[in-house]
């Protein structure tokens, strides 16, 4: 329910009526006239409308409730408009509009292919693990961009990020809370459940450092469909009200998979997602989450930074094995304690590990559609330029190779020690023990 200062009153009962009506025209600071098309949504701060310019371009207008019409909020928006968007992934304030009672800003419309994280939580959108890893990478990359420009976002939560389940691309919206890091003029403290413990207990305000905690929460939700601090403690609480939330998220935050303090383990039958997903992912990503919610709680300086997440999500994506029996995506586990094979979470059958390519610390499972990027050679996060791709022999369907799709010659050393040059467009057979020199970086095709 929204409440605003401009609503009409009819018959004595206060009604929820949108502040602007279809067809209303408003002129911006930049002198552009926008006509209201329809109301898209409303929240605590204001309403969002679809608007159209005279030349037919569609945008979104956020129109604040009168109580948000403050000098501080106006200055924040003015600065963001002036600075310009960090890149196209940010639905950033690009123009301002004022009325006698309140004000608002124009931003790009979110394309319908982008779904909210709430849709992900409610299983209304179902990306593959592969696209989820890509989305995790992109999300960390967006906030890294924002932080590197000196901003803090202040309210990372379910409603602010959108993802395209088809390709893992993300959009960041609600950028009107963004402030210069270190300033204390944010109009929000964050969303309970995502806020860093030091904000929950009232010690600090939002900053880039507290953003990192909220980002870790959001990523945990995306990959585990559960909150990292909601274990036995939450399950034992009958009424999960503001006081109880203060305790779980602020006064006594204990990670559900804390390696030593096991008091807050998730409860089977009530917090099942937490248990199911923890069993699926490889050790290295779990260790990163453990750090995020142990040291990351007690020492804000030790929070996981975006580069760590980005590297981890590429590694996680590289370790996906498609189960040859049921087709589910499962993850390659290092030094499996059960021997050489991995077990599919879906069909419970042993999966013979496909050949894998090891380049330095990068380990890439060679599935039928695997692509090797520049990042795998240079650890530079370049996931645009391709180096190699798995390809099928044109005459023998059961023969697979690694095709050179780079501009450079490779040197391929067979298991018997003989060496052959591999020109761009040519293939190396997927034989274990094969060494490939990609130019100045060595890789090896292995089985385990």
């Amino acid at each position: 329910m929204t409440n605003n200062g401009e609503e009409d009153r009819e018959g004595g009962a206060s009604l929820t009526i949108s502040m602007l009506q279809s067809g209303d025209e408003l002129t911006s600071k930049n002198g552009i006239t926008y006509k209201i098309v329809k109301l898209l949504g409303s929240g605590g701060q204001g309403e969002v409308y679809e608007v159209i310019t005279s030349n037919g371009c569609l945008y979104a207008l956020k129109w604040y409730h009168a109580h948000m019409n403050t000098k501080n909020q106006k200055e924040i928006i003015e600065k963001l408009v002036e600075d310009g968007k960090p890149d196209e992934r940010f639905l950033w304030p690009i123009d301002q509009i004022e009325s006698s009672k309140t004000f608002g800003y124009i931003m790009d419309l979110r394309p319908s292919a982008y779904k909210s994280i709430v849709d992900l939580m409610k299983r209304r959108v179902e990306p593959s693990f592969r696209e989820l890893c890509t989305a995790g990478f992109n999300l960390a990359d967006c906030f890294q961009k924002l932080h590197s420009l000196g901003y803090s976002y202040c309210d990372i939560s379910f409603g602010n990020a959108f993802l395209n389940a088809e390709n893992g691309e993300v959009l960041i919206c609600d950028n009107d809370n963004v402030i210069v890091n270190g300033m204390t003029n944010s109009s929000v403290q964050g969303t309970l459940g995502f806020m860093a413990p030091e904000i929950v207990i009232g010690e600090k305000g939002p900053s880039a450092e507290t953003d990192l905690f909220s980002l870790a929460i959001l990523l945990f939700y995306m990959f585990m469909l559960h909150h990292p601090l909601e274990g036995a403690q939450e399950a034992s609480i009958k009424c999960f009200d503001a006081v109880a939330k203060q305790r779980v998220y602020g006064q006594n935050p204990v990670f559900i998979w804390h390696p030593e303090d096991k008091c807050n383990r998730p409860i089977s039958g009530y917090q099942d997602n937490a248990i199911i997903y923890w069993g699926i992912y490889p050790k290295f990503i779990k260790e990163l989450f453990i750090l995020a919610f142990t040291e990351g709680i007690t020492n804000p300086k030790r929070r996981i930074v975006e580069n760590q997440w980005k590297r981890a999500f590429i590694q996680l994506r590289d370790r996906i094995i498609i189960c040859p029996i049921c087709g589910a995506e499962t993850f390659y586990q290092d030094n499996s304690s059960f021997g050489a094979s991995n077990i599919c979470w879906n069909c419970n059958k042993n999966i013979e590990t496909p050949p894998l390519l090891k380049i330095g610390n990068n380990l890439i499972i060679l599935n039928r559609d695997t692509v090797v990027f520049e990042h795998h050679l240079y650890n530079d996060f370049n996931l645009s330029d391709r180096v190699a791709k798995v390809s099928q022999h044109p005459a023998y369907a059961n023969k697979w190779g690694l095709k050179n799709v780079s501009q450079k010659d490779w040197l391929f050393t067979k298991p018997d020690g003989s060496a052959v040059t591999v020109k761009p467009g040519k293939n190396v057979p997927l034989i274990c023990g094969t060494q490939i020199n990609f130019g100045n970086i060595e890789g090896e095709i292995k089985r385990n």
Binding site: G11, S14, E230, K238, Y270
Partner: protein
């Protein structure tokens, strides 16, 4: 992953949130007041739906009590917000507000309330002129564990409403 293959697990765990309208349809509400009330409740439904839609932590269930001469469940089943439709009320008779509190108290016992939930929300819409002895019933309601935790809102209907009772 083959087409349509899902990742494991289910929806994110959530708790029920019980929302109860307590609606005065006594004689003093006759005319524009009851019409305005029906209209106001109907107006809130889309907003409640979209708020629930954006909140994966809660499953929102709505029901309603009406009170005039006596009190009864106007919409008795806790109805998921997506399926909830408001049925218009007519006004006549006395203002047995205390009876309405008793009905709500019966529903806030455990059971039928689940052990784990979000704080229930009780919204009273009235012109605030109860004709029965409502204080004892209100006190009983507020002494229940879920009654204590409930978020209680009273909305005055009409410019002549007695707001001291609603406080």
């Amino acid at each position: 992953m083959s087409e349509g293959f899902k990742r494991p697990g289910g929806e994110m765990a959530s708790r029920p949130l019980h929302f109860i309208w307590l609606v005065d349809c006594s004689g003093s509400m006759m005319g524009e007041k009851i019409q305005s009330l029906n209209y106001a409740i109907r107006q809130t439904i889309p907003d409640m739906r979209s708020a629930a839609d954006e909140n994966p932590n809660a499953q929102l269930f709505i029901r309603a009590v009406k009170f005039s001469e006596g009190a009864s469940w106007h919409i008795a089943t806790p109805t998921p917000v997506d399926e909830f439709e408001w049925i218009d009320l007519e006004a006549e008779g006395l203002t047995d507000m205390g009876k309405a509190f008793e009905l709500v108290s019966n529903q806030l016992q455990m059971p039928p309330m689940p052990e784990r939930a979000l704080p229930p929300v009780i919204v009273l819409l009235s012109d605030g002129q109860p004709t029965d002895e409502y204080r004892k019933s209100l006190e009983d309601l507020l002494n229940l564990p879920w009654g204590k935790k409930a978020i209680k809102i009273a909305i005055a209907i009409g410019s002549d409403a007695d707001t001291t009772v609603l406080k």
